[in-house]
Amino acid sequence: MRRIGTAFAAAALALATACGGSTPTQPGAPAPGQSGFVPPALQAQRAVGTGEGQVNLVAWAGYVEDGSNDPKVDWVTPFEQETGCQVNTKVAGTSDEMVTLMRTGQYDAVSASGDASLRLIAAGTVAPVNTSLIPNYADVFDGLKSKPWNSVNGVPYGVPHGRGANLLMWRTDTVKPAPDSWSVVFDPNSPYKGKVTAYDSPIYIADAAVYLMATKPDLGIKNPYALDDKQFQAAVDLLKQQKQIIGEYWSDYTKEIQAFKSGDSVVGTTWQVIVNVAKSEQAPVEAVLPKEGATGWSDTWMVAAKAAHPNCAYRWLDWIISPTANAQVAEYFGEAPSNAKACAETADPKHCETFHATDETYFSKVHYWTTPIAQCLDGRTDVTCKDYAKWTRAWTEIKG
């Protein structure tokens, strides 16, 4: 019913809601900062009706906790009681897995990171989201709204869940002096050879691009997710060189903490939550947002275009960014909440401070994960950029 999209419905929608409907976009040069492609014309929902009794979610581990893993960690049961929507969750390990799972059409909503969201939008897997149906959206930090990874040409495709930066972590007992630049993980003559670690995903190519933005300005990289042939090659070469000093690539949380605790890794990329856990386990580590800036993530809850339970999905979107639930999930997962009012609800009163939740200057140095596509995301129209499939092939080649 939601996807019938007759001319009448579309027109009525455009009039009825300020920011909800998808305005059919016209081909043409996109404005800088816009995504530079035309998504399939799909309509956002116009109203939230009766719940369907259940909702199927794809999420990161720790985003949808119903107390079954730890009875004290539960923001799903109150949701189920309030809305009557039974929550079924599938945890995905990587962004790529999320995309694959959403493609199956079995799921209603997904907590997509920016390296997945545009792929989902472009393929028509997810529909625009009518934020006027989500009351808590009003309290979301402005720095997270209408960003290239969660909207296209001003049309929102989801609600922001939270955010974090990919920091540089090091062991204070071995890495001296304390680094403030990514150069420490890219230096081929590094004294830490064999003990450097990096994130195991094609999206890590953007970390190299961020470093090149600062160190090789003549490459002209403006957006680390919009790389033409030459820029891309430079980033890949840098990473191939880096591979010589890498001890291991990490992709999961437990592995990274173990490696830093045992000293198998002494310097590399990390997340704030890993730093916190490692410190609480008495590992001598510190982390910094290096002077070149960093990549980061801002996850977006999106609704499937073919959702079988759209009403419950909308209720879930509103619930997960409500101050209480948003505070709970941000603390459990270890990231900055997206709802400004959540900072008053966290169990640790300093949580928002630790995670820089309200610090827009801090986050202004963060280049959030965005899916690279052939249309350059920085607005260039005279060149073709490398899309994510090419990034993936290159990543295979970098690891060798």
Partner: protein, 276 residues
Amino acid sequence: MTRVAAFLHRRAGVRLSLLLSAPLAWLGLAYLGALAALFVTAFYSVDTFTGELVRTFTWANFRDLVTGEVYRTIVLRSVGVALAVTVIDLVVAFPMAFAMAKLASPRARRWLVIAVLTPLWASYLVKAYAWRVMLSSGGLLGWGFGLTATVLTLAYLWLPYMILPIYAGLERLPNSMLEAAGDLGARAWRVFRTIVWPLTFPAVIAGSIFTFSLSLGDYIAVKIVGGRGQLIGNVVYDNIGAANNLPFAAAVATVPVVVMLGYLAAVRRTGALENL
């Protein structure tokens, strides 16, 4: 009922078709059909913009696979790892299985089989992480991560799959035959070479099919203990997710399939396929 029975008794062909119908429908049609469908997609491509499958015939995926030097390296590395795992498991498993089948008392034998089967119930992931803990610096072994660590971990994970068939094969081998050889003056090594090995060879091959194929398809253990290494399974897995490139993943997946089919064809004559 009686008439049905009588009818079936007379018609061997009907009985045979009834017996074969369900297994063949399931494995022959459904499973092989699914495989065939997968490999057809290896000749398709993906629209990089929408991520939808483009159903036009192309050799591009296979061309990339063959011309990409990195894929050759990875295939060779994966086959090497699978071979190393198989050889290690064989060397460790054979004496163990022999001692179990020929030296232990029947009562001890039962407990030994249980002892070998028990680790199969501890989760694969947990065992791999236990190896990570042991291999990490400061751990029990502290040898560090990498290809060697991957081989060791995989060899550990699949060891019971090698012991059990060899044990079963040795158990079928009559003791009287070995004793007769001994009575005729053959030394232990000669008995092994001329009787034990040839007669248990199918069982060894059966075990090796497990260890070889399980290693060839693995992509999780190498992520846990492999350091910066990657195997063919990782390439398949990465490409399924990345831009949802099922066609390229399917093309890459043909490599382990071809390797395994070659292996199966080679060992088919040994009768090993009936010893799994």
